[in-house]
Structure formats: C-alpha cells, structure tokens
C-alpha cells in the first residue's frame, strides 16, 4: 500500500515486518517466550476419546471449518490399535454407551455414522426400571413416546471402540485434520503477552504447537483444564462401577427380542443390563467399593450368579449374600460358584420363589427355554450363563462439573468438552451423550464465528457454547445426582416412603423423564430444552398431587402415572427438529 503517510509508529512497524517475515517462511515461528520453534495451529484438540475424535470429525467435515482451520488432535494412547480393532465375532468390548437418537443424528450429519459397524450395535426399544426395595416399576418404550421411528429405539447401544474406530476411519477421508498419536501433552505454557498470550502446547516428543483455540477433550484429569485454571466441583460417590460383557441364552420364541434394557435401583446403587445382541448384553453395576471388590475377587461364575440374583432376589437376601462374599473375601476363604448357587437356592426357598418363576436363578433350567416361558419372564433380564473372559473391570464413579467451560484471562483461548468438563453417574447412560452434544454445539459456534470473520479462540466466539451447554448439562446432572442420592439413602423416612411406593413412583418418573428428555432426536437449543424441563417438572408435580388423591381412592396408581407421564413426554419430544446447516 503506497500511502503518503507514516506507517503507525516504529514499534507497530516492527511488528508488521516481523509478521510478514513469519508468513513468508514456514508455519514454524520463534516465540519470544520460549525461543523454541513451534507450529501454528488453529485448533488443537487434546484427547482422542469419543468426544475429541467426534470434534475432529465434525470440524473436518464442515465446509467452512475445513476451509479455514488446521485441526490437530493429540492423543497419548495408540489410536492405530483402535483403528485396527477387530474383535472375534460374538465377542464384545466391556465399554459400551447408549447413544441417544440426538447423538446418532449428529454423527450421521457429520458423516461418521456410516463408518460405525451397526451390526455390532443394538437398539433399546423398551426400558424397565424398578425399585429394589418396593419393586415399584416403570416400563417405557420407544413407541410410547412418539418417536418418528420407534423400531430404531430410544437409544442404540454401541461399543466405545466401535464408535472410535468409525470416527478414525472417517478421519482418514478428512485431510484438514492431523492426528498425533502415542504422544502426550507434557505441559502447556502461555505465550508472551506481546505475542497475544496464545497457549503453547508442549508435547513429550519435543514439538510445540501454538493454538488459536485449545480444546480439552482430555477426560477427567484434563491438562487443558489445569492450564486454564478452571476449578471443578464434585465428589466421588462411595461407589464403584463394575462392567462386564454377559453371555446368556437367546429369548425364547414366545418372548420379545433382546432389546429391553433393565435397571434395578438397589440401595447400594443401580444395576443395569444393556442388550448388545440376542445372546450378549453389557453390565453396569454400581455398588459399594467393598462389595465391588469382593464380587470381582472370585471365579467369574460368582459374579455371574450375583448378577442374576441382584435382578431377582429381595433386597434383604442380597444384603445377606453381600455379607457372605465380603466375609469370604476378607478372611481369604475360597467361595465357589456352586457354593454361592446353593446359598441363592436357600434364599429363594425362604422367599417361596417358585423354581419355574423368572425370579428363580439358582437352578438354571436350560432346556426350559424352548417351552412356554414363565408369565413374569419379561420383567427380568435373561439369565446370565457366563461372562466373556477378560471383560470384568471396575471404575470409581464420581460427580464432577467444572465452574466454566471456557478459560478466561491467563487461560484464555481454551474450551472444555466431554468428561473434561463433566462426569456423571452412569445410571442414565448420559455421559458420552452429553459430550457429543457439547461437540455439536461447539462446532456450530465455531462455524458461526468463521461466518462472521470472528476469531474462533476468542471469548466472544465461545461464549454461546458455554451459555447453551452449561445450563443443559447442569440440569441433567442435577437430576441424575438426585436420583442416585435418593436411591442410595438409608434415611428412614425416605426408605419408608420408598416401601410405600409413592415417592418411588414419583422419582422413577423423574428418572424416566431424565432418560426420555434425551431419547428423541432433537436439537440442543437452550430455550427449547428449558421449556421441556419446565414441562417435565410440572408434569411430575401434578402427578405427585394426583398420586396422593389416588392413594385415597386406592389402586390405579400405575396407570395414572403412566398416562400422565406420557402426556409430558409427548409434549417434550414433539418439538420441531432443526437441521444442521
């Protein structure tokens, strides 16, 4: 530009010249802070878990984002192993997530879902949730909530590896995304102030990435969150989650397919049975740490028997059995599968449970399968006959939510998604879905910022993400936490009402509502979901009033709850769907 004017001040001139110098050489630059060469990146994603890989795919497949942004993903683990993952047929990984329709719709929109092996996934068409003390029960199905395609279920059980492998395959076609695997982020340092204070990501192989936007998709111990100094609050539940892949006979010809998920709320924590194929299902059993370590200490048959018992026996007998195995575990006395089965048989006899009832598990009647099943056979999951070797694992369960999703001040140009921002109890199967909803929203905010010439690392560009997601996640997390607390309490008045069933049905209603809120394919606009939640809350309130009245009249409670809740759910799931643009 030839203007008859002085170019700013001398210092401004120097800066401009420096910039030009940098641009004519290569993307490597020397920062004044470190005097180390570094690579200029637009978006650096730390973490190649489901959330990080989905974000990379979403940005790589977005037209405007791929035209404008260089995306780099750094993962400490071996992603090529995940990419080559090919389990022997009939075997399943123990890390399984129920992907809601909203999550699937998003994965389809970014073109990743076609790379997921859907033969390895299973729809949940029905859910049965009941209270371990009172046996009050709620059943809900995909057809009842007005989904467009009830046969696709309310959610689809998908192995985390299957999803991650699909995302990695999708990423092969996206040249705008670079993966750096088997490389850990060692430290993150803020660039000099006169260089804008952008984050400099130091990798353990000596490379340094300068990030316009640094995304923490790096899970619970998020190094990005530490760099951004975003505090988080939370607690560990005195609970471990046991996962395992369970093998069982197929449902008989007079029964439905294996598409019903079961969850029983025991005072020690919920146990869930999640179908993967006609003969394989996934276990998530949350229980006290002492019980969890005892359950997993003996031969796998012991855990299998206990799983069957935990879905069937009255709570008092379960307590007896826990004590039995804890004692054996602490004294180092061996406990065999056969001994445990004998104990279970005695408990069944003392409760007068008929050996042909679906509630009996001590004598596994394998030939009985071909015959007419017991009338109550569909109120409990199929009997587990074995556990797939090597699939039993335990995780500590916790609640954790960061105070913010975007870094400010010294931690600017950072944003958190997925478990780095929030961790919930798995009882509602929402952890990963929340992370995917984060990614969807963040992608949309980045696209909007690019459309408007914004700086994708700026607070202004990221603020809509935080506004939209924080409230929605918080509401869901609070509901899940409340349910967990209510069911694991031993506080007398609550336990009393639980046996009466009123409180339980109400609370099961909120569980159901919590689950259903996310069941349909829908967008994640804050105002609409707020409306949904208010509606749901109102529904539960008026139901509570109705229950009290009904109790006086006597009977008919379940039916009433059922229809009342259906109204709420129809109202909330019938919202218009929005298209990704």
């Amino acid at each position: 530009m030839t203007l008859p004017l002085a170019l700013g001040t001398s210092s401004a001139h120097r800066l401009t010249a420096k910039r030009l110098l940098a641009s004519t050489s290569c993307p490597r630059r020397f920062s004044t802070a470190q005097n180390e060469p570094h690579e200029e990146c637009d978006v650096v994603i730390v973490g190649g878990g489901p959330a990080g890989l989905t974000l990379a795919s979403a940005l790589g497949s977005s037209r405007i984002a791929s035209q404008n942004l260089r995306v780099t993903l750094v993962e400490g683990g071996d992603l090529s192993k995940v990419k080559q993952w090919s389990p022997p047929s009939g075997t399943y990984s123990n890390r399984v997530s129920s992907l809601t329709n909203a999550s699937q719709t998003f994965l389809k929109a970014i073109g990743a879902w076609t790379h997921v092996d859907t033969h390895r996934t299973a729809p949940i068409e029905e859910m049965q949730v009941w209270d371990g003390v009172s046996d009050a029960r709620i059943t809900f199905s995909a057809s009842e909530i007005g989904l467009e395609r009830p046969q696709d279920g309310m959610a689809r059980l998908t192995e985390n590896f299957n999803l991650q492998r699909g995302l990695l395959r999708h990423l092969e076609h996206l040249p705008g995304v670079r993966l750096i695997e088997r490389t850990k982020v060692k430290s993150i340092i803020r660039d000099a102030e006169d260089q804008g204070g952008w984050p400099l990501v130091h990798l353990d192989n000596g490379r340094v990435l300068r990030a316009r936007l640094l995304v923490g998709a790096d899970g619970f111990n998020s190094p990005v969150r530490s760099y951004a100094q975003i505090p988080s609050f939370g607690w560990t539940y005195e609970t471990q989650g046991i996962v395992a892949t369970m093998v069982h006979p197929p449902r008989g010809p007079f029964q439905g397919p294996n598409t019903t998920a079961y969850q029983r709320f025991l005072p020690t924590g919920p146990i869930a049975f999640l179908p993967l194929s006609p003969t394989v299902s996934s276990l998530v059993w949350s229980t006290r740490p002492r019980i969890a370590s005892a359950l997993t200490a003996f031969e796998p048959g012991v855990l299998a028997s206990m799983i069957n018992a935990a879905f069937r026996l009255p709570e008092i007998s379960l307590r007896y059995l826990y004590n039995r195995i804890i004692e054996a575990h602490s004294t180092g006395t061996p406990l065999t599968h056969a001994e445990l089965q004998q104990e279970i048989l005695w408990r069944e006899q003392s409760h007068a449970i008929d050996a042909n009832s679906a509630y009996a598990s001590a004598i596994v009647n394998v030939i009985g399968d071909a015959g007419v099943p017991a009338a109550d056979s569909e109120s409990v999951p199929p009997l587990v006959t074995s556990l797939q070797p090597g699939t039993v694992a335990t995780f500590p369960l916790r609640f954790s939510h960061t105070e913010s999703y975007i870094g400010e001040g010294q931690g600017s140009r950072t944003v958190l998604v997925g478990d780095a921002a929030h961790i919930v109890h798995p009882l509602a199967g929402q952890g990963l879905n929340m992370g995917l909803a984060d990614v969807e929203c963040l992608t949309r905010c980045i696209e909007n910022a690019l459309e408007q010439g914004g700086d994708v690392g700026s607070y202004t560009a990221l603020l809509p993400y935080a506004r939209e997601r924080y409230f929605e996640n918080h509401t869901l997390m609070a509901a899940i936490d409340k349910v967990h607390k209510l069911y694991t309490t031993t506080f007398e008045p609550i336990v009393w009402t639980r046996t009466v069933g009123v409180e339980v049905l109400n609370e099961l209603d909120s569980v159901k509502t919590a689950l259903m809120m996310t069941a349909g394919a829908r967008d994640h606009k804050i105002n609409e979901s707020a409306v949904g939640w208010n509606l749901a809350a109102k529904g539960v309130e008026s139901l509570a009033a109705g229950v009290n009245a009904a109790r006086v009249v006597g009977g008919g409670i379940r039916e009433m709850i059922g229809t009342g809740l259906q109204e709420v759910l129809k109202a909330t799931s019938a919202r218009p769907r929005s298209e990704r643009d």
């Binding site: 530009m1 030839t2 203007l3 008859p4 004017l5 002085a6 170019l7 700013g8 001040t9 210092s11 401004a12 800066l15 401009t16 420096k18 910039r19 030009l20 940098a22 641009s23 993307p27 630059r29 200029e40 405007i64 035209q67 660039d191 006169d194 260089q195 804008g196 204070g197 952008w198 316009r212 400010e408 909007n448 910022a449 690019l450 459309e451 408007q452 010439g453 914004g454 700086d455 700026s458 607070y459 202004t460 603020l463 809509p464 506004r467």
Partner: protein, 306 residues
C-alpha cells in the same frame, strides 16, 4: 485587501488536511486511556465485541444482496468480502478490521488515536492469519490526498463522537469507489437512546465510562438519509468549471424525492441493533420494526456507479 485575505485563509483551511479535521482532541484522549482495554472481551468494550458479529453479518448480507442483484448467483456468504478493498474508519482496537480481514478483505484500519493503532497492530501481529490487514494512525481526511478508493468504507460507532458530522460523512463518502458501499453504525438522538446509552450505561450501570457519549452529537437515521439525498460525489479529478454545463451532475446517493423514513431498498437501508439480555446477544432488528432504530442502528448506502 482584508476580504481577499479572509478568502485565502478560508481556501487554505478548506484544502489543508489539518484544518479539515473533524476529530475532537478531548475525545481522542478519552479513548487513548481506554485503548488498553479494547481486547478485554469482558471489560468495558464487551458490548462492542458482542455487537461485532451482527455488524459483520449486516455488511455481508448487504454485499450479497447487491451481488445477487448484479446477477452473481451462488456466491457463498463467507466469500463475499474476499479480495475487496475495505477501509475501517475509526478502527479502534481493530475489532471490525480483524473480522473483515479474516473474511478475505484487504483491510486498512485507520484511527486518529495513536494508542488505538498500537493496540490494534500489536493484537493483529499475534495472529498469523491476518496478513491482509494494515493499520495507520491518521485522520480519515488525510486519505483524500491519495487517489486510492475503497470498495467498502465502514465507520462503526464513530459518528456520534465527531465534531463535524457533515464533513466527516463527506470524507467517508469520497473514499468510496463508484458503486461501492458505505456502512455506518451509530446511536440515534432519541429519549430512548439517551436513557440507554448515557443514563443507564454510563451513569447507572457504569458499563461504559462516563463521558463516552454526548447526547447532542447523536444523529438520527432520518438525518443521515437526508444528508445522502443532498450529497453528490465530487470527484477529485473534478470537472473543469468551464465545462460544467456540458456534463450531468453526479447523482445524489439517495433519490431526493424518496421519503427519508423509507429510502429505496437498492440505495440505502437502516436497521436497528437490539440487545437481547437473555441471550446476551445483539440482534439485527427486522426491517421496519417499530422503534427499532431509536437507539443503536446500522446504516448502509451505496455510491452510484456511474
């Protein structure tokens, strides 16, 4: 003799850049004090950061509309600014300039405050992508001395701070290429604007430093439109007055017989900028929304192309 002296002085004043200046010295000092805060997105200028995307949206949409009228179909909205010469008058810390440069425009930001230009330059130098962006510290009038003209001239939230709006508007208008665009955003002179910008923002909420605004300097949309109904481009290679009667006078930018309340859509447009407190976002009010232009508004006018 005395009379001719006066005339000569007047002529000198008219032609020397210094005396054509429209910038008020105390205003410059005020913004210099604030300029280090320009890029604190949660600080005093938070509202500008939030408003910026909406302004860019308006600029893009207007250019898109015009390019569609000109028969250019299917241009994606993100490329409409690519390779255009854009001037941002009163660029401040460079909020708008950076956005326009990112959208591909060859952008020149100009500001009378030296510290603003320093801040803007420093900020842009950290961003390896902003290579098509230059800043200069000078009054806009000084650009008239160069023959360079711009496809788009913007001046956002500046008009309400200048001493001689008519002269300032003429300067901006003169810097536009024939067929080019002028975008202005400012605050209207209405009781509502007084209430929002001075009483509420400065005095009560202290969101904006007291002294930022002077009510009497606010300009209404009608005043702007009337200005461009009278304004005719005077080209620098002006026609020799002896041949004046042989050429047609340049067209007014807005048809003089149109109602100032609703100028022809192809010539000019006024849209309100409204803050949505629940979303924490600025929104572009729908066209002709009632009272929408009573406070912050954005104005577009196009220079006739002949």
């Amino acid at each position: 003799m005395r009379v001719s002296n006066v005339i000569r002085t007047l002529q000198r004043q008219l032609h020397s850049p210094a005396s054509r200046g429209t910038i008020n010295a105390s205003e410059i000092a005020h913004f210099s004090r604030l300029s280090s805060q320009w890029w604190d997105e949660q600080g005093e200028f938070a509202f500008l950061h939030r408003m910026n995307p909406v302004r860019v949206e308006f600029i893009k949409n207007k250019l898109l509309e015009v390019s569609r009228e000109g028969g250019e179909e299917g241009m994606p909205s993100s490329t409409v600014l690519r390779d255009l010469d854009v001037l941002d008058v009163g660029c401040g810390g460079g909020l708008l300039s950076e956005s326009l440069a990112r959208l591909g425009a060859n952008t020149l930001g100009i500001d009378a405050s030296e510290s603003n230009v320093k801040i803007a330059t420093l900020h842009a130098s950290a961003d390896p992508k902003l290579r098509n962006l230059t800043y200069i510290n000078a009054p806009a009038e000084s650009l008239l001395d160069s023959p360079k003209r711009y496809d788009v001239v913007c001046s956002m939230e500046v008009l309400e701070h200048v001493d001689n709006p008519a002269s300032f508007l003429s300067t901006c208008a003169e810097l536009v290429k024939p067929g080019g665009h002028l975008f202005l955003s400012t605050i209207s002179r209405t009781p509502l604007a007084y209430f929002l910008t001075i009483f509420l923002a400065e005095d009560i909420l202290r969101k904006v430093s007291p002294g930022t605004h002077t009510y009497s300097k606010f300009i209404t949309p009608t005043e702007l439109i009337s200005f461009f109904q009278k304004y005719r481009s005077s080209d620098s290679n002006a026609v020799d007055p002896r041949y004046l009667e042989h050429v047609t006078l340049p067209k007014a930018w807005i048809s003089p017989n149109a109602s100032p309340a609703s100028p022809p859509r192809t010539e000019a447009e006024v849209r309100g900028l409204i803050y949505h407190p629940l979303r924490g976002q600025w929104l572009l009010a729908p066209r002709d929304a009632w009272a929408a232009t009573d406070a912050n508004y954005i104005f577009w006018v196009r220079k006739p192309s002949q």
